[in-house]
């Protein structure tokens, strides 16, 4: 009898082989998209803050005299970070100290697997969904992974053996746990309304129409839920106004003892979280890759017009719509970051437990009532 290394017959035929290949390509593409966007986000952060404050922003980085609005600045930053000394103080716990940035980076980056980028694409005889892993429990998976990100913060503070770092990580843990409650609560209403936890089903559900003319997006079904979700998600990104774990001006934060690429990884994680929050907001509340009134065969306007389109154009429009929406939310988060000052610690806890959680319950109650009355 032969021993089966793989369950079932994943590798038994050429077709299965190409399935594995497709998944690998999707993983690479999704990660490339995410990391490119992260680098771009550092540029957007610099530039948008500059324009908000009537400045110009970094525009001197050039390759062969070519400046293109300082778009090469992220590359210059990355090169600088790579060549910096990776200083490790003698009093740190070596292994955990090195593990922490990778852990927090991984836990955030892996959530991109559950985000649908566009409608399924027909490639020859097979249909390929533009999503790395269409998990049955996509939504809980994303939330779980975002929660695991706390370990990176706690570990970095603990392993640094530094009081300020420990203070920062304790603050971070308390803040993230508090806001996770509100984040989860705000999404329970969504789970009641949507038929599935599968991300692709959630997006497909939002293609319908409300009152015959409005796109059935989550924001229209759960407006209060969206506000609670967005504020809680902002707190999860640990950026100003919720940057208490870092708090540059009071405690230096959980990455006090980090330098070089490891510190860079923490910073990259911040931007990754911004993108993931934007992806989540778009997927759950703004129709994912849906374009209003665009079906699989083309536009069908509620006022009676029709515009038939080819399948690949519809797919391309879907991907474009997803990117535009994510871009908008990334920009919006940068705007928020450059508008508000940091919360005081008690204000932060007040907002989490006395405002967001009650509103989350209110939203849940209202949704439950409405749904049960309709049945």
């Amino acid at each position: 009898m032969s021993v089966r290394l793989w369950p079932g017959n994943i590798l038994s035929s050429r077709r299965a082989m190409s399935n594995v290949l497709i998944i690998l390509v999707k993983v690479v593409l999704a990660l490339a998209w995410l990391l490119t966007l992260t680098l771009l986000m550092t540029w957007v952060e610099r530039k948008e803050s500059a324009v908000i404050q009537d400045r110009i922003g970094a525009n001197r980085a050039s390759i062969l005299g070519l400046r293109v609005f300082g778009l090469f600045q992220p590359i210059a930053d990355a090169v600088k970070m790579m060549f910096k000394e990776d200083f490790e103080p003698s009093f740190t716990r070596r292994f955990l100290h090195a593990l922490a940035p990778f852990l927090s980076f991984f836990c955030v980056a892996v959530t991109i697997a559950a985000i649908p980028f566009g409608p399924a694409v027909r490639l020859g005889s097979r249909v390929v969904s533009l999503q790395v892993a269409d998990l049955e429990a996509g939504l809980p998976f994303v939330l779980a992974m975002l929660s695991l990100g706390i370990y990176g913060i706690v570990l970095s503070g603990w392993a640094s053996n530094n009081r300020f770092a420990l203070l920062g990580s304790m603050r971070g843990a308390a803040q993230l746990i508090s806001y996770e409650v509100a984040l989860g609560l705000s999404l329970v209403g969504l789970v009641i309304v949507y038929p599935s936890l599968r991300m692709s089903r959630i997006v497909e559900f939002q293609s319908g129409l409300l009152f015959g003319f409005l796109p059935r997006w989550g924001i229209l079904l759960q407006p209060l839920g969206f506000i609670v979700f967005f504020v809680a998600a902002l707190a999860e990104t640990k950026r100003i106004p919720f940057d208490l774990p870092e708090g540059e001006s009071e405690i230096i934060g959980f990455y006090t003892e980090y330098s070089g690429l490891k510190w860079g990884l923490f910073m990259l994680t911040d931007f990754l979280e911004v993108i993931i929050v934007a992806c989540l907001a778009v997927t759950l509340f703004f129709g994912g890759w849906q374009v209003p009134w665009l079906g699989p065969t083309g536009f069908r306007f509620p006022w009676g017009g029709e515009l038939p389109l080819r399948g690949w154009i519809v797919s391309a429009l879907g991907v474009l719509a997803f990117n535009v929406k994510v871009g908008f939310f990334c920009g919006f988060q940068v705007l928020i970051r450059w508008t508000y000052p940091r919360f005081r610690y008690d204000q932060l806890m007040d907002l989490g437990w006395k405002v967001l959680v009650p509103f989350g319950f209110l939203n849940l109650l209202g949704t439950g009532l409405l749904v049960s009355l309709r049945k």
């Binding site: 324009v51 908000i52 009537d54 400045r55 705007l335 508008t339």
Partner: protein, 156 residues
């Protein structure tokens, strides 16, 4: 109720930054297309390429003025040396062949590393021999000695 007022203010804060962003972006975009907008999208002056226009009475690096015959106006009266709070001016006097002038400087040195650009020397000078109107601002050097300007440097 008071809390509600805070919420309004929070929203207004975001509107202010959003307005700055959109208005500035509009002017940046207009400039990008080669049109001349009413104002620039940013208050920044791109320094080495563009320079801010100096005010008429701006105090920059000193210079020594000359008479019509090309000799320095300075009569080595040492008033600037006396008034200088940083004690950065040194003047060595010598006899001038012209009996009208009587004295002239053989050495005139200003240590710009010590100078605080107060302009007292210009005010003290009875002969209008020293001025601070060259418009030279970039005085960075890698050695302190290079900042000691002599008679020839200042007459140039």
């Amino acid at each position: 109720m008071k809390r509600l007022g805070y919420l309004v203010e929070i929203a207004r804060g975001a509107l202010i930054t959003a307005r700055h962003f959109l208005v500035n972006m509009f002017f940046h975009t207009v400039a990008l297309f080669g049109l001349r907008p009413r104002r620039s999208g940013a208050v920044t002056i791109q320094y080495p390429e563009k320079r801010k226009e100096l005010a008429g009475r701006h105090r920059s690096r000193h210079r020594l003025t000359r008479r019509e015959n090309g000799l320095p106006r300075c009569v080595a009266c040492l008033l600037c040396v006396t008034v200088c709070p940083s004690e950065c001016i040194t003047v060595e006097a010598a006899e001038d062949p012209d009996p009208e002038v009587q004295k002239r400087p053989v050495r005139f040195s200003i240590d710009l590393g010590r100078c605080c650009f107060c302009g007292f020397c210009v005010e003290a000078c009875p002969e209008d021999a020293i001025r601070m109107d060259t418009g030279v601002l970039e005085l960075a050097e890698t050695r302190r000695e290079a900042l000691a300007y002599g008679l020839e440097d200042l007459l140039r």
